[in-house]
Amino acid sequence: MELVLPGLGLIFWMTLVFVLLLFVLKKFAWIPILSMLKEREESISSSLDLAKQTKLEMEKLKSDNEKLLAEARHEREAIIVEANKTKDRIIAEAKEKAQSEASRLVENALQNIENEKRAAMNAIKMQVAELSIEIAEKVLNAELSDKKKQSELVEKQLNQLNFN
């Protein structure tokens, strides 16, 4: 029967010991332990959040970079196309210019040649005329030294000058 009858003395000591234990542990163990645990959990979760945020930022940065890169590539292509066009244009213009210049030069040259030719011709003509006159003079001088020959010549000339 004593087994199930609580003893007063033990109740007294148990209450005393348990209350003391409760207060001592509360002050020196549970409050520091629980607050540290909470602090640690919070720091862990905030670190995880930070990591997640950093990861997101990294991803954003990466996509930004890619976008920039793509833009740069696009721009490069555009520039190249533009440059090609300009090049073609310049070449075409140069070609055209060269062509026109060349044709102008050729024309000038032709003109000059013509002019020179004409001048040369004129000079030759003059020379020829002078020479002819001189020759004719000499011939005439030689030929027309007697009468017979003179009349022969006139006749020949007249024959030649057919009045037809």
């Binding site: 109740i11 000591w13 148990m14 409760l22 549970w30 332990i33 629980l34």
Partner: protein, 386 residues
Amino acid sequence: MIIRKFWEGRASATASFLLLFFIFFSVSVKAEDHSVGVDSTHHEADAKKFNAGEMIFEHVLDAHDWHIADFNGHAISIPLPIILLDENNKLHIFLSSRFEHGHASYQGFMLSHEAPHKGKIIPVMEGTHEIDPSRPLPTDLSITKNALALMVSAFLIGLIFITIGRTYTKRQGVAPKGLQNMLEVIILFVRDDIAKPSIGEKKYHKYMPFLLTLFFFILINNLLGLVPLFPGGANVTGNIAVTLVLAVFTFVITSFSANKQYWAHIINTPGVPWWLKLPIPIMPVVEIMGVFTKPFVLMVRLFANILAGHIVILGFISMIFIFGSMNVFGGYGVSIVSVGFSLFLSLLEILVAFIQAYVFTLLSALYFGMAMEEHHTEEHSVESHH
């Protein structure tokens, strides 16, 4: 859900408890068969005569001295302080060795050997060993075996957790290690699996110191009770006074944290036909009884589980001596089986030590949670949203 699981667990625990009790009684009956005619003053009795029932009860009951062993028929025990408050409110403080194990009286008191005050301190008439019927029993506030064991374990618990608490403040922001790491798992278990789901995320903080102290107090005393050497081996959590105080703490905290709804629920239980409340208040009476049976059951469960464990282990050990007193070879033969069973039961008791600490703490937390439940306001707020 948790409650349902728990009740299932309890049913099986009760079943195993009954089974163990049955085994124990069959042992004790055998023991009594063989101890017929043993002198009641067994210290001087033939060492071969062995009373298992007496030995077991001597171990599981509280005592005024700490009996460690018997050597050559002499008890080796540690005397403990006796503190008595007599009928004139006079305090008597002396060591229990003054009683010479119940063979002497001191300051008009004596340790009784016989029913109805067996093991208690009784007032005696001067110069005799007879009880003085004119004087009432003194108020016994002695530091008994269990009280000393309580203090030792409280000191141990204090030492462990204050050290750990200091470790936490010293090693701030560093990963836990060693004992701190091991106990942190249990602390987190009490917080996350007992307090938070039972009481609720908002209010559990306030109850954590009590729940943690309760859990570790029960656990460490349960485990110390399984250590057969001094200062372990005392049947602290298998003593009804200890479990009574723990249950009273739970009851007081439950009652003080209860809100209006909890009391309204008890007086006017909703969802129950009116004729159960008027004119004969059957439901309120049942509910009020429930308020007291909850802690009562807590008290009995822990007490019975731990006591049964101690008794069964001791029963198996006793069998060696019972058979040994019949036949030396019988004793040796049975010892193999008994030691095996005792080992198995000791391992089982380690499990029980954890389970009982868990169950007591979980139920306390559930009662706190129930006392503060705000069922109706939640339902109304849900309805008002629709």
